[in-house]
């Protein structure tokens, strides 16, 4: 998934580094860790062009696939006077946050991009869509796709046909409560019909066991073993339904993101 994301949207964003110092030469010779430390040393000792040097350091980590460290580095850049550099830094903050799967930070980066840079960028619009999906904002993602399909680099037909009706996130608390109302119903709501049916049948069996024993005068057996078993399965089943709903949501988000990345972009 991460590699796919990288191929789709990120390779175009590499900042060209002309060899101006030893660090640049190390970068050019693909000695990235050495180059990263050299850029940091230059930033520390010379106290100028810090944004540019940290950006280059971030590229070192990006090149070796350590996106978290790359994001951590680029996130240290607080103010940039140069407009074009500011644009690149803002762009990288979003892309690297996405590659680190820090979706809330990617969303924050996009907000900053909208406020400060105010330029259209296909790759960032794609990240915006992926962020919305990852953060569970399916309806917002749907609206974004339909309204901004050209910015996302896809055609209107694909944009309109992309979302399936059944792509709806499940509410884990609803699944839990449904299983409390009727055992097994929460599992069915979470998309696992047979698991729900099995859970419902087991709990019906326990109720039968309890009723049978009470009816035949085995009050301790019916009242205690029956009630204890029912209580355990009843609450356990409801918790399991909540867990299934959460798993369903993660699976759905992953499916939508993969299908989106698989669409040929302009």
């Amino acid at each position: 998934m991460k590699q796919y994301l990288l191929i789709c949207i990120c390779l175009s964003g590499f900042y060209s580094i002309k060899a101006q110092n030893h660090a640049d030469s190390l970068f050019a010779s693909e000695d990235y860790l050495n180059a990263a430390v050299e850029y940091e040393r230059l930033a520390f000792e010379e106290k100028k062009d810090i944004a540019s040097l940290l950006l280059k350091k971030a590229y070192c980590y990006k090149a070796i696939g350590d996106y978290r460290e790359a994001f951590r580095t680029v996130d240290r850049i607080s103010s940039v006077q140069n407009d074009s550099l500011n644009e690149i830094v803002s762009y990288e903050k979003v892309i690297l946050a996405a590659l680190s799967e820090e979706w809330a930070k990617a969303e924050y980066g996009l907000l900053m991009w909208d406020l400060k840079i105010k330029k259209e960028n296909t790759a960032l619009e794609q990240v915006r869509f992926l962020s919305l999906i990852s953060l569970g904002k399916i309806n917002e993602a749907k609206t974004h796709l339909r309204q901004n399909f050209s910015k996302l680099g896809i055609n209107s037909v694909e944009a309109n046909q992309f979302f399936r009706k059944k792509w709806k996130l499940k509410n884990p608390e609803k699944a839990y409560n449904l299983s409390l109302i009727l055992p097994g119903l929460g599992q069915m709501y979470a998309g696992k019909f047979w698991k729900g049916a099995f859970s419902g049948t087991v709990q019906l069996g326990i109720i039968g066991f309890t009723g049978y024993h009470l009816y035949h005068g085995y009050f301790f057996t019916g009242g205690m073993t029956g009630a204890a078993l029912f209580y355990t399965f009843y609450l356990g089943g409801a918790r399991y339904a909540r867990q299934l709903a959460e798993q369903y949501n993660e699976q759905l988000k992953s499916t939508i993101k993969q299908k989106f990345l698989a669409i040929p972009k302009k």
Partner: protein
């Protein structure tokens, strides 16, 4: 304390610059910068990179000290101790710091004898550091549960240093706690649970667990009794419930005995944790 650290760093830098090692002081500051921004791997990489360029004993001591500190921040205790142990006694200030860092990390690794040897074999340059030495040694005895040795050394606590005063009092309080702690008997706990299920847990002060044990045993006993009265001793129902009761009853006795051991283990772990934190904080406050 911050002023003291700054003075200490200042002295080191002045010493380095005055001995014609301006470049090395820059390297020192840069590695510290990498440590401050939590770029530990870069710090270690850089030290490795410049290692062959700086061959004097003082420089190697400083590099070993920096390596030790980076590993310490990464919680890599073994490598940290190894690096700190490379600092020679000729670099007095950082050597003494290294001894303290090694001793606390050895204590965390439960190598109490090494902590004791390191501290006992070092005479520190200031009265504060010697007081820290006494405090760390005494605490190490507490970790070993050698209470008489602790009492003997803690008698030397002066309570004159604000950096240590609270920790010294806390450590004495902990030693009293250990002394007053009464160890429960697994045999008594098991015996009590055999007479009345659950009471072995009451004996350990676990009222909730005891009540649960009593209730679960009572439930199975009542069901077995019900089956016996209605269906007789040979009925499958009686056999099942009396079997379940027997399992619960025996498990409860066994559980009561084992839980005494577990509680004792947890108590010791908690006390050790408190001692180690109390030992660690003065070192962090003085040298970090």
């Amino acid at each position: 304390m911050i002023i003291r650290n700054l003075i200490s760093i200042g002295f080191l830098l002045v010493a380095l610059v005055s001995s014609g090692q301006g470049n090395f002081s820059k390297e020192y500051q840069f590695v510290q910068h990498l440590q401050n921004i939590n770029s530990y791997n870069e710090g270690l990489f850089y030290i490795q990179k410049i290692w062959s360029s700086y061959k004097s004993l003082t420089q190697r001591d400083t590099l070993n000290y920096l390596k030790g500190k980076i590993y310490y921040d990464q919680h890599d205790l073994e490598h940290s101790i190894e690096s700190f142990s490379g600092v020679s006694a000729s670099s007095l200030d950082i050597y003494e710091q290294s001894i303290f860092y090694q001793s606390i990390q050895n204590a965390y690794l439960r190598k109490f004898d090494l902590t004791e040897t390191l501290l006992k074999n070092t005479e520190f340059s200031t009265s504060l550091r010697n007081e820290v030495k006494v405090f760390e040694l005494a605490s190490n005895y507490l970790l070993k549960r050698e209470l008489d040795d602790f009492d003997e050394l803690s008698g030397d606590f002066t309570f004159n240093y604000y950096q240590l005063e609270d920790y010294e009092r806390d450590m004495i309080h902990l030693s009293k706690n250990i002394r007053d702690h009464k160890t429960k008997s697994p045999f008594v706990a098991g015996l009590l649970s055999a007479v009345i299920p659950g009471t072995g847990r009451y004996y350990q002060g676990k009222i909730g667990q005891g009540t649960l044990g009593l209730a679960s045993n009572a439930i199975f006993a009542l069901q077995a009794l019900e089956a016996y009265r209605k269906d007789g001793v040979k009925s499958p129902r009686f056999i099942i419930f009396s079997g379940a009761f027997a399992v619960f009853y025996i498990s409860n006795i066994w559980g009561s005995a084992v839980s005494v051991r577990i509680n004792e283990m947890r108590y010791n772990e908690d006390v050790d944790e408190a001692i180690l934190i109390n030992m660690h904080l003065p070192i962090r406050l003085l040298f970090d």
